[in-house]
Amino acid sequence: MTIFGHRPPLSAKIGILIVIAALAMAIFGPWLTPYTMSQSVGDGWAPPSGQNWLGTDQDGRDMLTRLLYGASMTIGIAAATTVLSFFIGVTSGFTAAVVGSWADVVLSRLVDVVLSIPQLILALIILGVFGSSIPVLILTMAILDSTRVFRLSRALGMNLAVLEFVEAARMRGEGLWWVISREVLPNAAAPLISEFGLRFCFNFLFIAALSFLGIGVQPPYADWGGMVRENAAAINFGMFPPLYPALAIATLTVGVNLVVDWLLSIDARPSGSQAEM
């Protein structure tokens, strides 16, 4: 099997398989199960059976069904956040690199301040003021996350902005948007793609943590972090319900990381692009 002319090693194949399975769950989940998200089908925390493969949750809802519905919520939010964060981060990062001078100074100092406190703490503060709804969650996480994307794309842009072909485009009188989208972006695509995977993992764990804390996705929606929280009490009786969604989160993160590791090994990242988590 070759992808884009490269043969993935075993670890990457496992990663790709996990990612495809998770995407399938997120997209086709609701059609794969006979139950609905909030339908009670038995006692709370019933053990696995022929009808309920993973048993039921605290309200007697089918665990597997909740996991399938939760997949689209959790993965969807993480993906939307990452896309938005890349849009903001890459645009502002390249702008800072190409325009330079004051734009660079203002944006860079702003990012420095945001990065000097932990992301989770800042997110908690913002959610405390606005309350948590899904748009607020996505916007908050995307803006906070875009600071890291900014750092990387600014570093990449800096290296590209001094090259002759960018200079030539500027001399021709092309506008800022053209220079960014036609000259800089295509040449920075490879490192940005692997960064996308890493940022997705980070945002995915971030939304899971927020929901686990009870300030992310609110009930009745199923999402993996919230499911861990709802079923948390079962652990004291030695039962497994909170472990299923937690394991689902861990599996997808490991899967994406395996794919990213492979992408990184194909295309070693240029200097100055070590994004800290």
Partner: protein, 315 residues
């Protein structure tokens, strides 16, 4: 060198100041309205107006900022919106609990991570190194709460050694506190250790490729001796800053872990305040976390300056 250190310390103070502005902007200047958030949608316009004046929301933002900053510097963090209690009084014991938990985990994690990191650098490419590598990769990808629940499964349910709820109350003896906080501390240890270990290993290995190390090998020394006596002194700087950076990370990891084990610390307090939308409490907790984080980062840089032999001589 003294100049370098004082510059770095001053930069830390400036950062803290900028961070306080940022926190203030997030809570007060952004279009969210605290008054209507607290009073709910049924509040009459009159009640809203009175409450806004009570909160000082009728004054311009920069005046409110300096009032707030002045209060914070004098130990007045304001009162909680939900129960009118003095925030500083509420925060102090919780802060002590959080620091206790963080210090407990650090005491386990740091020696273990640095030791294993050096060990895996000595045995690069061997089986033990590869096992450590895989284990840390998994530990990094796994959410904190899964680690916590797996530890509960093993140590509370199967072995019955430790309680799954880390309830701490005033008047508890030190030994009892240690016993109760063991599982949360172990969870935090697992989470930060992986990062610390990998970074320690990498900083030792990056020094292993320098010419003077090759020279030591060519003299016929054993790998263990070269690593401990030649590479390690020069890797100490990076390792110390790695450790301090991860301690800063640990202070944040506390938020989730405290909620898993119901440990009464700042993290739990803050999350509670966020769900009740008690903005002054959220603000105060955020500032406390930010202050610890910025201080540890500053100390990390200062420690790195101190152990760097090239900066030790007076110019």
């Amino acid at each position: 060198m003294l100049r370098l250190i004082s510059t770095r310390a001053a930069l830390g103070v400036v950062t803290l100041f900028a961070v306080s502005v940022l926190i203030f902007i997030c809570t007060q200047v952004l279009p969210g309205d605290v008054a209507s958030a607290v009073l709910g949608q049924q509040a009459t316009p009159d009640a809203l107006r009175v409450f806004r004046i009570e909160l000082g929301l009728d004054k311009p933002a920069y005046i409110r900022y300096f009032n707030w900053l002045f209060g914070v510097l004098h130990g007045d963090l304001g009162h909680a919106l939900t129960n009118q209690r003095d925030i500083l009084e509420e925060l102090r014991p919780r802060f002590a609990n959080t620091m206790f938990l963080a210090a407990y985990s650090a005491l386990i994690a740091v020696p273990l991570a640095v030791g294993l990191g050096i060990l895996s650098a000595i045995r690069e490419g061997r089986l033990s190194d590869r096992l450590i590598n895989v284990a840390t990769l998994v530990a990094i990808s796994v959410p904190e709460f899964l680690v916590g629940y797996i530890l509960i499964m093993i140590f509370t349910i199967n072995l019955g050694w430790f309680p799954s709820l880390a309830t701490v109350f005033p008047g508890m003896s030190f030994a009892e506190r240690l016993y109760v906080a063991t599982l949360p501390a172990l969870t935090l240890t697992m989470v930060v250790m992986a990062h610390m270990l990998r970074m320690t290993r990498n900083s030792v290995l990056s020094i292993m490729s320098t010419p003077y190390i090759e020279m030591a090998f060519l003299k016929g020394m054993s790998r263990a001796r070269v690593v401990t006596f030649h590479a390690l002194p020069n890797a100490a700087g990076p390792i110390i800053s790695v450790v301090a950076l991860n301690l800063a990370y640990l202070v944040v990891g506390v938020v989730v872990v405290e909620n898993v084990f119901n440990y009464p610390g700042v993290g739990q307090f803050m999350v509670d305040a966020v769900s009740k939308r008690d903005v002054p409490v959220v603000q105060a907790c955020g500032l406390a976390f930010a202050a610890v984080y910025v201080t540890l980062n500053t100390l990390a840089d200062i420690a790195a300056i101190l152990v760097n032999p090239r900066l030790r001589r007076r110019r």
